[in-house]
Amino acid sequence: MSCGELLLERPALLEASRPMRHALAAFLTALGVSELEQIDVITAVGEALANAVEHAYRGSHVGDVSLRARLDSDGTLAVDVVDSGRHLPAVRQIDRGFGLRIMRAIAQSIRMDATDGTALRLFFKLGA
């Protein structure tokens, strides 16, 4: 399998999520990822991006959101979505939103660090 890396960093405006998703989709296509797997990855990562542009800088000066994707030749895909805003509610409340539920249904594992903004890492196993 092919391998590659994508890193995007830009202001976390609402309009940012769409072209970032598109870049990730084209990145995955270029590396031969199947359409259905791509849809799932974009759906999960789209939730992380939507959260960053919607919540992270609410009520404050907008900062950056970054997306880093790394596909290894064994089909392991790790995606980090990171902002340096303020992680809004308690961890308990996160389970109520659809976002995390969708990410959990798709990704093989998820790690979140909300100590300084929100750093979400999603793992996927592709081509299985």
Partner: protein, 108 residues
């Protein structure tokens, strides 16, 4: 917005993401004169949970006022995210307008 008399049709397309939340919110209204609503999402290629939240709000409201809502969805992404969110039993989803209209005829 109206297709057949008494049946309201709301059609949306493109990528329904967080950036279009307000637009979606404004589009999803219960037309007072409608006895049923067909929500045509066949041109929607992508939706995120922001859109699902709006759809759920809309469908809950419609249920409260007893207006049946049928959703036409064809894209694989839309179909899948609805399933991942656990909303496939909540929404009435159809593969084309014909099926959706038949359902609405019977339900309204």
């Amino acid at each position: 917005m109206s297709d057949r008399s008494e049946f309201a049709v709301i059609k949306l397309g493109g990528e329904l993401d967080v950036a279009r939340k307000d637009e979606l919110h404004q589009a999803l209204v219960i037309v007072p004169s409608a006895r049923a609503i067909l929500l045509d999402l066949s041109d929607v290629s992508y939706a995120d949970s922001t859109a699902l939240t709006e759809l759920l709000r809309f469908s809950t409201l419609a249920e409260r006022v007893r207006v049946p809502v049928a959703i036409v969805a064809t894209s694989a992404q839309l179909d899948r995210i609805i399933r991942y969110a656990g909303l496939n039993e909540v929404f009435r989803i159809f593969a084309d307008r014909g099926e959706a209209l038949s359902y609405l005829e019977a339900a309204s």
